[in-house]
Amino acid sequence: MQTSISSEPAIVAVPAKAARLGAAGYVGVAILVFWLLIAIAGRLVAPYDPTEFVSDEGFLAPSLQFLLGTDYLGRDLFSRLLVGTQLTLVMALIATMIASSVGTFLGVFAAVAGGWVDMALSRVNDAFLSFPTTILGLVIIAALGSHIPVLVITTGLIYSTSVFRVSRALAMDQAQLDYVVVAKARGEGRWWIIAHEVLPNIFAPLLVDFGMRLTFAILFLSALSFLGLGVQPPLADWGTLVRENMTGLTSGVFTPIFPAMAIASFAIGLNLIVDDLATRSGQHIVGKLI
């Protein structure tokens, strides 16, 4: 028997495939960290109360006194942006967490259960997916009112349909594999298979999906605010800041550009990281996401 062992190659140590970021990824991380810091400390740094009328004049140009100028009512835009960041990011983060947990839970369950359970869940999901997201969101919020919990839960549930699709596809791949078959043959229950055999192997692509979904959630919440159905005054998230200062564009001031840039930079930063991770990990995640 000695010969049988010696004739096989020695144990090969394969280094763990660390998903290291490239330059683009680090730029994305820097942008995200910047906004996260503002979200945490914005309220402390803000030079003025975001609701205080600091100037008699609206749409003042940026100056040393008012770094980003004043908004249409003469409030300090810089302070409003700093405080609004927290609101925007926290809402989007919670909405995305709802989307990911609900979508992943149902998607993986459908894939592992199979049969009529999968069929029923998938068709219901398809029905929701067939509505344009914005229209669906508008209908729900118009019916229930623009309260922050309603906004967050609606956004989360709308995006959970896409997460369902992704996680079900990922889990379906896993469910065919022999180690899941072996676990089934051993008599393992559905939940054990989901938690131990399937989830650890689809965690990385789901994390990437989370990042992409967060971007969508911010854009969606901003769109709702822009349409006037989002966060209500005097509170303001990024989308509201764009909307309420929009009239300034017609009179040639750049006030609404600053919150718009905040939205754009956050979305770009997240996408830089996601794309970088996707290309480096060699998984065709992006193709599966949309």
């Binding site: 028997m1 022999d178 078959v181 650890p200």
Partner: protein
């Protein structure tokens, strides 16, 4: 004018570490000659062969040497010149034809595509050329096969169509990359024969990549043996097979032919030597008397909608009766689609049987997995073919083994640790393997872990579904030895699902031959394989390549009569 394909001092290194994976390869392919590249996976044989098409996998780089075809320096080609060269002057036949054909396009379009890309002749001329190729490759219904889609023809036909695709632009040389490895032995014979006729008929050169020495002996003129990226032996087929010089070649030869294995005294004694050379001694060594541990009675398995009698519309297994004796190794052989894997899945409960009984130690097992107790589940264990996908990449070996022990035996604490160490010892792996992840193990080691996991359930019967077919010859023999010793030491019973007759001959006491969902023949391995009674078994036995030049022609001669008998029987 015909050109030589020459590899000169070819060296290929990894981009990241700079380690050479192919070192100083030199050989020549003359027009009309077939040069075989032999070696285990990872030996660099495919990497070398693909440089003939000017292709190097990303992450690798040619750091020295040349590959030339006539006056053309292949490695210096790029862009348009390279595209012009590929397919037209040197073509490629891949291992898996099923993966190489686009399922959405007709076969005819894809076969003629190479010629049309290179704008050779008119559409009508190309069509006529393709028809001629279909006839040469003995494809049925040459006039209409081009209108079909890839899923509408058999695997053997698709592999031949792939050769037609390679030939459609009239290349001077073809690279065959394991073209018959994915085929059943019975199909392999026909495909090999048509490939051989094609190569000889057109007088083209060929590089034939394979790990199967017996296959190569039928088709090649010269053999190049690669080990770890270096040529260890190079000679004519007769030289390499009859007078191997290098130790590794001898090992390969011994491993690929049990008949020769018994004659080569220098090699470590394997079960095969016992079985083939001395059957009386063999019988003494293995007491297989006693009650059968597993009895299968009138087992029927199917799928699809069920009728009023509860019978499914598609029947895969029909009235299977088998007795598996305690402490025996029982083979189930047959070609793909014969139902042998379904049988294994039905026994362990993964696939429901709608009729019949599976009796383990006299107790009937439920057809439904969920109705079986944990103890019952533990006593029948299955080991899968692909060691890679049978182990969860996110779990350490420790976790992979711990769970079945806890789940089936209910043990906890240090008792489990002891059991894990014991299991690793039984499959002859060092104890520190437990801390590793599956990807840190070699293919053979992973298969050992698969066996260890099966042992964790304290089984009576272990079902092995093609456990050696994905392994290289030398590693395969180590696993065969392990299964043998597990039976001897632990008194386990094994059911080996296999299409590899030489593994079966080397290892198994009894054999059941399956054909289209029926067991057509069963009995002792030696008597069944030596003197098969059923026509299909005879066909199967004659299809196993022998390590002997000229075997293929003999097999084809017998083929016609066998086919007649199978159809009648």
């Amino acid at each position: 004018m015909k050109n030589h394909l020459s590899f000169k001092n070819l060296t290929i290194c990894r981009d990241d570490t700079g380690a050479a994976i192919v070192k100083d390869i030199s050989f020549d392919v003359a027009p009309g000659k077939v040069v075989a590249l032999i070696g285990e996976s990872g030996s660099g044989k495919t990497t070398v062969s693909l440089t003939a098409l000017g292709y190097v996998r990303s992450g690798l780089r040619v750091t020295g040497g040349t590959v030339t075809f006539g006056d053309t320096d292949i490695l210096a080609l790029s862009g348009h010149a390279l595209r012009d060269f590929r397919g037209r002057r040197i073509a490629y036949v891949a291992q898996s034809a099923a993966a190489a054909f686009n399922p959405g396009l007709t076969i005819g379009f894809q076969v003629a595509e190479t010629a049309s890309i290179h704008a050779l002749g008119t559409a009508a001329e190309r069509q006529a050329h393709v028809f001629k190729l279909y006839e040469e490759l003995q494809l049925p219904a040459a006039a209409t096969i081009g209108d079909r889609y890839p899923h509408e023809v058999s695997g053997g036909q698709l592999q031949r169509l792939m050769a037609a695709m390679a030939m459609s632009a009239g290349p001077e040389c073809i690279v065959f990359d394991e073209p018959t490895t994915a085929l059943d032995v019975t199909t392999q014979v026909d495909v090999l024969k048509t490939f051989k006729d094609l190569i000889q008929g057109h007088g083209i050169g060929a590089v034939y990549v394979s790990h199967d020495l017996a296959v190569v002996a039928q088709i090649a003129d010269e053999i190049v043996v690669l080990q770890a990226g270096e040529i260890v032996e190079h000679g004519t087929v007769e030289q390499v097979i009859n007078k191997p010089q290098h130790h590794y070649t001898k090992l390969l030869i011994a491993a690929s032919d049990p008949e020769i294995a018994s004659k080569t005294a220098k090699l470590p004694k394997r079960p095969a030597t016992v079985l083939i050379s001395d059957s009386s001694k063999h019988a003494e060594m293995m007491p297989t008397e006693g009650d059968p541990v597993l009895r299968i009675r009138d087992l029927c398995v199917g799928y699809g909608a069920t009728n009023r009698q509860g019978e499914p519309s598609v029947k895969v297994l029909k009235d299977i009766n088998l007795d598996i004796k305690a402490r025996s190794i029982h083979a189930v052989i047959g070609e793909s689609g014969s139902g042998k894997s379904t049988l294994a899945r039905a026994i362990c409960g993964l696939t429901r049987f709608y009729q019949g009984q599976v009796l383990l130690d006299g107790a009937s097992l439920s057809p439904d997995l969920k109705s079986r107790t944990r103890a019952e589940l533990g006593r029948v264990q299955m080991v899968m073919q692909m060691a890679d996908v049978a182990l969860n990449p996110a779990h350490t070996i420790d976790k992979i083994l711990r769970r079945p022990i806890q789940y089936i035996t209910g043990e906890t604490g240090s008792a489990v640790d002891d059991r894990i160490a014991d299991l690793l010892h039984k499959v002859k792996l060092p104890a520190d393997v437990a801390r590793r992840l599956p990807r840190e193990l070699s293919g053979g080691q992973k298969q050992r872990i698969n066996l260890a996991r099966a042992l964790a359930g304290q089984p009576r019967v272990v079902l092995c579904d093609e456990v050696t077919s994905a392994l290289d010859t030398v590693v395969r023999n180590a696993i065969i030895d392990l299964i043998w010793s597990l039976r001897e030491d632990l008194g386990l019973t094994f059911v080996m699902i296999s299409h590899d007759i030489s593994t079966v001959a080397a290892l198994c006491d009894e054999v059941a031959v399956m054909h289209r969902g029926h067991v057509v023949e069963q009995g002792g391995t030696e008597s069944t394989l030596r003197a098969p009674r059923h026509a299909y078994t005879r066909k199967l036995m004659r299809s196993v390549p022998h390590l002997r030049v000229g075997w293929l022609e003999q097999a084809i001669d017998h083929r016609h009569t066998d086919t007649q008998l199978v159809l009648e029987g």
